[in-house]
Symmetry: C2
């Protein structure tokens, strides 16, 4: 498993992963029909850095890191992670999360926050808890799940201890 | 007190209010030295709507309303409010908050969320609680206060009951 900063040509392989996850509509706050151009803007250009993870030369996952709030909040970062459904169960999300925490400290951040985790996304919630995050807020019915309707969204947080 | 949608020429009077509040650095997640151009982008152009409140023909306060999260989160809005220090204690912030809640329902939103309320901003916290919000999350040391250092930030939330 090789994690490295995304190059300008990597979005070609990131896009099918983004599209698969956004179009399912059950985990991320992106419109299900987000266009390729908008996805590239959101995932590659808006964030401070974007990384990809390769197995056997193929991109199977990606994450971004960005500043979560400006000014008095700019010591807290936010990350988003996506793993191709074809590569689940290999510990890739955990590896990306651990990589992102080291990167956050390297970039000078003191904490990491996830703003909008669907409470139905048990796998992600458990994984972030395993890597040191805790649920610090619950937003009642803030996530409109395509099958379950309005479900709670969670705010998760970790002080990075520097 | 007259609350109406901001016109393109209103930013002239909004800017001194924005600058006063942002430069204090103790309430909003804006850089203390935010430029006028960037302030206009953030307060007028990025939001879905922006309103101003006038007393005797002078703008003394303003608020914006925007969608807080896209896609599965786009039924929850976010607002920001600013009142000139020269016009405090007249119930203007309460009036703006009530106006924004009606506007939110009119625009089709089902809930309103404040993402980043400095826990030291007692007046605002009390005011939002009085208008039906509650603290649903606490972000430890997420707000870098210019005098008090790292203090907690609060996530506040209100379901608008539609």
């Amino acid at each position: 498993m090789l994690i490295q900063e995304a190059t300008s040509s990597d979005f070609e392989e990131v896009w099918p992963i983004f599209r698969e996850i956004a179009s399912a509509g059950d985990t991320y706050a992106y419109p299900r029909n987000t266009s390729r151009e908008e996805a590239e803007r959101l995932w590659i250009h808006v964030p401070r850095r974007t990384f990809v993870v390769e197995i056997d030369g193929r991109i199977v996952g990606t994450y971004y890191i960005k500043t979560n709030q400006d000014g008095p909040g700019n010591h807290v970062c936010n990350c988003g992670y996506m793993v191709s459904s074809s590569a689940r169960g290999k510990g890739i999300a955990t590896a990306l999360c651990e990589h992102s925490q080291k990167m956050a400290v390297e970039l000078g951040y003191k904490a990491m926050q996830f703003n909008f985790v669907a409470s139905t996304n048990d796998g992600a919630v458990r994984l972030w808890q395993k890597t040191g995050f805790y649920v610090t807020g619950r937003l009642p019915r803030a996530f409109n799940h395509p099958v379950k309707g309005y479900v709670d969204a969670l705010v998760m947080y970790k002080w990075l201890g520097t």
